[in-house]
Symmetry: C2
Subunit: 504 residues, 2 copies
């Protein structure tokens, strides 16, 4: 047991130090003036170097070996030890020289990417993309070296531990078999409806202050504790900082109140998971980390898509909008529902509705996997991207790579294998909601949402997802939570019901 | 030389890590929600433990020994090495056990102090004050053990390196010999003037946004680079963060615009010193630290008192206030000057004018020194405090210890020996201004201030104070900057001229 206790203390120290890294990252996006960036980068890598040392030290390694043999660990402790080992291995697999090389490359790549996107120049980006692909292939080799995972699988495993390509391929093949035609049907249905009875858009400008007030009210509806967190604004909405002080951001456009509102709900979904993840008395331990990025995204999409864009939520929202923003012709329940549920395929992933979204993801998954597996090279990305956009979404960016393969930051940050987690999240959110409806009763869930009294729903999320933290591995967690492993049928049913049958 | 280079690299790492500690401290005062405090404290002490290890490690000690013998160091390098050694010694003198004990005590003491002040209960505070005094005595013993300094002198030396009690006593004795009667004269003069012709107060409420806009404009007048820093608000104005990203705060009271404005000017004075301190190419090195707290305060008081409250500045400020806040009857040059130069002895140090201020300081100096030297005990503080208030400022807080000995946080933070630096700063600011007037010509200085074109004045501060950093020890710096060591005659002359003869 003693070796386990010593490990707890090492991981506790790492958690404490990561608090400061998280703060530095949050501040960089919310407050930092431009000329502070270089010093911030230096400071963060100095501390990262130290936390890396702590995590991968021979002492940690030795303690992990010894703890294996420890008798009488509780199930929680065993799970915690398993996560410790996972973090140790994930961090130890990469040679120091490689980590530094990758860090330098991605710092440079993000600057080049921003510039290339601004001037719509894939040629400017291409050399750095080649380097990024080569580096990701190298990373995949290191990461897969001690396992029987494939190179891409090993990269995916960083973000979605336990997911394998066989499962992922089966799930995505399923989605591809029905989603493009479903999307077409939904678009046609909505077009017909709009001809007869157009949506009344929200046009009166609303000040940042008013939008922020509604945002904070909405965080209250989600029972977010503003004494243990904040709402700020940043260029891209995100959830950051730490469990004891969880901070979300949104951004404000006076003529697009939907954007800031749904960003707040989405990020609050993430934040609730962060604030509540795992057993509180082990808050500094790996068992309290988010289970996976897909699970994390499932909690934000549960809030935004399953609850926030449902018909019942429009009923709840209508009087609130009138109260916070004043009367507007668009503030009618049915009209607000149609705004929240508008489906319109577009070029840009981050603006996509929940029906189109998975097609954006599958496209990226297929491309990045081919790049990593060497069946495709960086120079072919725009051509393949546009062909797949045409095939899946019926759109062709043509020579506008800024609306095509240059739109995302992920690869420039060295994140290959990240994109699939978005769609895993959508699917699990639907599966979780189906279970909660089964357990609480559909009528009760609708009543909760219509009245904004979400406690019974949160109680289910808490019991099934939040409290659990990393106690179980992902598939096990899903089975315990919903009775079965990830099953895309729930997502399909959700989309058909909401968008074809108009029942949600 | 090699050992010196290795030292540079260690101190560079410490500087980088301190960036994160500074950010965490800044955020705690500006953004942190209350329930984040405990985790923040844990995170900061975890990193402090590591920087302490880096600074006091046997490796550092050994390198400092070897570097002594290094041939051919530049004067800058020698000065840097001297400062490294000072930091090492200051941090090494205290046993680890003591540091932790003090840290726990001061964390507790600040909570007890706040509560005691709120309910005006010295009895609640007394037990913790006793502990604080005992701990400070113990610290003084450790700190004086390897020198010929007295116990209190060793504590003072942490904040004001190089200052000795002989000098300090001489300076304060000088001030005490003329300031109380000068204060009395000034008060009588202003009272007479107010009877004949009352000050028109600024009463129309001004929004936070407008006050902030003027604050930022004022930072621009001081050539503060807002791309390398920020202006925020917090309960108590302060300057924080780091050289590359220097952040100041103020606070806003709609009916007291003077408060936020002068806080901005004061903190901008601190910030300019931080941003410009020492040779830029050595930015991570101890030579770029502020020379002392007194020097730091001299730069903020130079901005606020020497420039910002001068008659010439009222001429500059009058049209600006009209521009930013709209016309008000009080926005007349002579009236604004009288507001800026109003002298009225009061109970509270932080609200004191520059004439009364040193008397608040001398009172605290005499009490804390007696406590440390054991010629007085904690239970006698209220009695002695009130007697000295009566003697120096003609005021008696009676049983209102919240307006008396409970008003300051310093002792609760373990800072004994800090107070004198405020008055050292006032005095050196006056001495520096006298020199600059001598060199640029009084008329030119007045012209600069009246027009808000402060560059020629900044050029002098830069050459004499900012660029120098810790190249010289304090007294040497003062002599190089002004031709003589600290001389309270300049401060006296400044006060008489401004407040008795009305010439500034």
């Amino acid at each position: 047991m003693q070796s386990y206790t010593q490990l707890e203390s090492i991981f506790s120290r790492i958690y404490r130090l990561n608090h400061l890294l998280s703060l530095a990252g949050w501040d960089a996006q919310v407050n930092m003036p431009p000329k502070g960036a270089e010093a911030r980068g230096e400071a963060m890598s100095e501390l990262e170097r130290y936390t890396h040392e702590l995590l991968t030290s021979p002492v940690t390694k030795d303690l992990l070996e010894k703890a294996k043999l420890a008798p009488k660990m509780s199930p929680m402790e065993s799970a915690n030890l398993r996560e410790m080992r996972r973090l140790f291995e994930s961090e130890s697999l990469l040679p120091e020289e490689f980590v530094q090389r990758k860090s330098k490359l991605t710092t440079k790549a993000q600057v080049v990417w921003q510039e290339s996107r601004e001037k719509n120049s894939f040629q400017t980006y291409l050399p750095v993309l080649k380097e990024l692909v080569a580096t990701a292939r190298e990373e995949g080799k290191y990461r897969s070296s001690t396992t029987n995972m494939s190179v891409y699988e090993a990269l995916l495993d960083v973000f979605e531990p336990g997911m394998n390509l066989k499962t992922l391929d089966a799930v995505f093949a399923d989605v591809k078999s029905w989603l493009p035609s479903l999307l077409k049907q939904v678009v046609e249905k909505q077009e017909k409806m709009n001809e007869a009875n157009p949506i009344v858009p929200i046009t009166t400008p609303i000040s940042k202050e008013k939008q922020e007030a509604l945002g904070k009210h909405m965080m209250g509806i989600w029972q977010f504790d503003l004494e243990a967190g904040r709402l700020d604004s940043s260029a891209h909405p995100f959830t950051g900082m730490t469990k004891e002080d969880t901070r979300i951001t949104t951004n404000y456009n006076p003529t697009d109140v939907e954007q800031s509102l749904y960003a707040v709900i989405h990020e609050t979904g993430h934040a609730k998971y962060e604030q509540n993840c795992g057993p509180r008395e082990m808050i500094t331990q790996p068992i309290c980390n988010a289970r996976s990025l897909g699970l994390h995204e499932s909690q934000s999409l549960f809030a935004e898509m399953q609850v926030g864009r449902s018909a019942a939520f429009s009923a709840f929202l209508t009087p609130l909008l009138k109260e916070f923003y004043g009367e507007q012709p668009s503030f009618q329940e049915e009209n607000l529902k149609r705004i929240a549920q508008k489906v319109k395929p577009g070029f840009i992933r981050v603006h996509a509705d929940e029906v189109s979204y998975p097609l954006h993801i599958i496209l990226r998954y297929e491309i990045e996997r081919a790049l990593i597996e060497g069946t495709m090279e960086a120079e072919d990305v725009p051509k393949v991207w546009n062909a797949k956009m045409k095939e899946y979404l019926g759109l062709d960016p043509g020579d506008r790579d800024d609306l095509g393969c240059l739109q995302d930051i992920h690869w420039s940050g060295g994140a290959f294998g990240y994109f699939p987690t978005y769609t895993l999240g959508s699917m699990f959110a639907a599966q979780l909601m189906a279970t909660i409806k089964k357990e609480l009763g559909e009528e009760e869930v609708r009543r909760c949402i219509r009245s904004g009294e979400l406690s019974p729903i949160f109680a289910k999320q808490k019991e099934k997802i939040w409290d659990v933290g990393c106690t179980y591995e992902t598939e096990d967690l899903m089975i315990r939570a919903t009775g079965e492993k990830l099953n895309p049928a729930y997502f399909r049913e959700h989309l058909e019901r909401r968008y074809l049958r108009g029942e949600d």
